[in-house]
């Protein structure tokens, strides 16, 4: 097991290095002069500025030296400065990250709750009307474009039934929690109300994936002998389903839920744009449209690094949950 963990850690480091190379190359594979792209034609008129930027980016050195410099800087959290705001990229990206994390966690909780409930219900009543309905629902959910769903939710909740806010973030969650402990619940409520629609929009398609996987995993487990034993010894059906079957069926579900989080971080881009949520995804899109490359690099690097670390944790957790798995 420890050999496996060490090997897995080493390969994670390798992948992270690869990702950093990919992000580094993003700027250099861009057609044209990166400096011209960054500062535009007006900026190019100022040779001093061009030379400064070239030196700051290390563009006057060979490519491998540039990558080494990029890596050394990135290792201490220095990802350069935003072209638009001249702010440190790390500061800009980290300022946006809590909002994205909040949204992704909320969507994850929502999709897991809906997905597991629907999947278990479907499996327990296989081929019933409920089963067919939830599986057709899952198919539909997996095919709905997130941006369209978002717009339809806005149409419904802002125009027809103005019940929930459809734009922006109410308050940072940590701040809301701190205020809650001081006896002020209204901020938390405001934060949650703002979170509902973006989280539903983002989580629904993932719920569909979780539901389908839960159903097939549960069906597999319900056929096992120990489930028959549990029934034979007279346990209530509920205990059989939840205590004996679901617990074992959860193993593959944990894996997929862990992976979902990474996809939610990536997929949050669209939900953030639709609901004007001030997260990393919107920052990335705004920066692409403004050709603010250092910020785009920072966003991609952060999300990819989190995704890689999550994958590692899920893998290790999987081994702990299911000791039958032998690592080689």
């Amino acid at each position: 097991m420890s050999v496996y963990i060490i090997r897995r850690l080493l390969s994670t480091i390798g992948v992270l290095l690869g990702v950093s190379l990919l992000v580094f190359l993003m700027l250099h594979l861009t057609p044209g002069d990166p400096v011209a792209i960054m500062i535009g034609t007006e900026g190019m008129a100022d040779p001093q500025m061009v030379a400064n930027l070239r030196r700051e980016l290390g563009l006057d050195r060979p490519l491998y030296a540039q990558y080494w410099l990029f890596l050394r800087r990135a290792a201490v959290g220095d990802l350069g400065r935003s072209i638009r705001t001249n702010e440190q990229v790390r500061v800009e990206v980290m300022a946006r990250f809590p909002a994205t994390a909040e949204l992704a966690v909320a969507a994850l909780v929502l999709s897991t709750l809906i997905g597991v409930t629907a999947g278990v219900t479907s499996a327990v009543r296989q081929y019933s009307l409920l089963d067919h309905a939830s599986m057709v629902g899952a198919m539909l959910g997996a095919s709905i474009p997130v941006f369209w769903l978002g717009l339809m939710l806005i149409l419904l909740f802002a125009v027809r039934f103005p019940l929930l806010p459809v734009s922006g973030r109410g308050a940072p969650f940590t701040e809301a929690m701190a205020l809650l402990f001081q006896g002020d619940a209204s901020t938390l409520l405001r934060a949650l109300r703002h979170l509902v629609l973006p989280a539903v929009c983002l989580g629904l398609s993932r719920a569909a994936v979780v539901a389908r996987l839960t159903r097939s995993s549960m069906l597999e487990v319900l056929r096992q002998e120990y489930v028959r034993t549990a029934r034979a010894k007279g346990l209530r059906e509920q205990a059989v389903v939840y205590r004996h079957a679901l617990r074992n069926a959860l193993i593959p579900i944990v894996t997929i839920v862990g992976l979902q989080f990474g996809f939610l971080l990536g997929g949050a881009v669209i939900a953030e744009v639709v609901f004007s949520w001030p997260g990393v995804g919107r920052l990335a899109v705004d920066s692409i449209l403004a050709r603010d490359y250092p910020v785009v690099q920072g966003c991609v690097l952060l999300v990819a690094a989190i995704f890689v670390v999550l994958n590692l944790s899920v893998d290790l957790l999987y081994g702990w949950l299911n000791p039958r798995i032998r690592y080689q």
Partner: protein, 280 residues
């Protein structure tokens, strides 16, 4: 081989969702091919005096902010979406299957390096990877196709590699090699046909996600540029008039939903029909 194809067809036709998928996809292809005779109006001709019309006899789905007929734009949009799907799945399938085949068959250093590159590409969540590639290449419909294509390469590569690893140890491959079959012959005449089934299933499912991702990128303003009748871009424009003219954003979304659903159904049906062991 004939009986194999026949039995796949039989299973496919018995699969209700697969039939629904085939009907939707078939309809989509037909609409794309016959866009010109089918569309009642020119999809890009503006008529400002006729803007923001709701559904009517003349314009069944209404008109947009430039007075263009939305139905005609959706019909022509089928061409764009199918093209995006075919090109990006084509890139993913060819590049992915080829590198997976080589990695799986060659093994050793070749396998380690190809798999390493794929692991890195898989480390960036799909949508974000596509966005990063578009950021590198610059916005535009063609670059979106390339981006969604590249971001699906690792999925196809991993699938092909895994399948090759199982097939290459079988006795018939050993027999072909013993009879003097060249590496190319072994790979393309004997291994490829045996790993085709999962690749076909994945291709169909990826048509769905490619259409979705590409429409998403266009929605973000990174893909098709005006006046191209692209569903995601239409939705994006409609967003500005959501309160006053909700129909502009509503109908293109339904078109995307149907197209994606069609390929998802078909992919699911194909999986069940081609590989009964995988049935869930």
């Amino acid at each position: 081989m004939e009986s194999g194809t026949a039995s796949v067809w039989r299973r496919l036709l018995r699969h209700r969702l697969a039939v629904a998928g085939m009907l939707i996809v078939g309809g989509l292809i037909l609409v794309a091919l016959l866009a010109r005779p089918l569309a009642p109006y020119d999809p890009i001709a503006q008529n400002l005096g006729n803007a923001f019309q709701p559904s009517s006899r003349e314009h069944p789905l209404g008109t947009d902010e430039f007075g263009r007929d939305i139905l005609s734009r959706i019909i022509f949009g089928a061409r764009v979406s199918l093209l995006v799907g075919v090109v990006s799945v084509g890139i993913g399938l060819v590049a992915g299957a080829l590198s997976g085949l080589i990695a799986g068959y060659a093994g050793g250093v070749v396998d380690v390096s190809i798999s390493g590159v794929m692991d890195v590409l898989l480390a960036v969540p799909g949508v974000l990877l596509a966005i990063a590639i578009v950021a590198t290449l610059g916005p535009g419909l063609f670059n979106v196709m390339v981006a969604t294509g590249i971001s699906s390469v690792p999925v196809f590569a991993r699938l092909a590699r895994g399948s090759v690893l199982t097939v290459k140890e079988t006795e018939f491959i050993e027999a072909v090699r013993a009879l003097g079959g060249t590496t190319g012959r072994v790979l393309f005449r004997h291994i490829l046909p045996n790993i085709a089934a999962p690749l076909v299933v994945m291709a169909s499912l990826h048509m769905a996600s490619a259409i979705l991702t590409a429409a998403g990128l266009s929605f973000l303003g990174l893909g098709a540029q005006p006046p191209t009748p692209e569903w995601g871009a239409m939705l994006s424009r409609g967003r500005e008039y959501l309160r006053s003219a909700p129909h502009i954003a509503t109908y293109p979304g339904i078109a995307i939903l149907f197209a994606v659903m069609g390929f998802n159904f078909l992919g699911d049906g194909l999986r069940d029909a081609l590989d009964p062991r995988l049935k869930v």
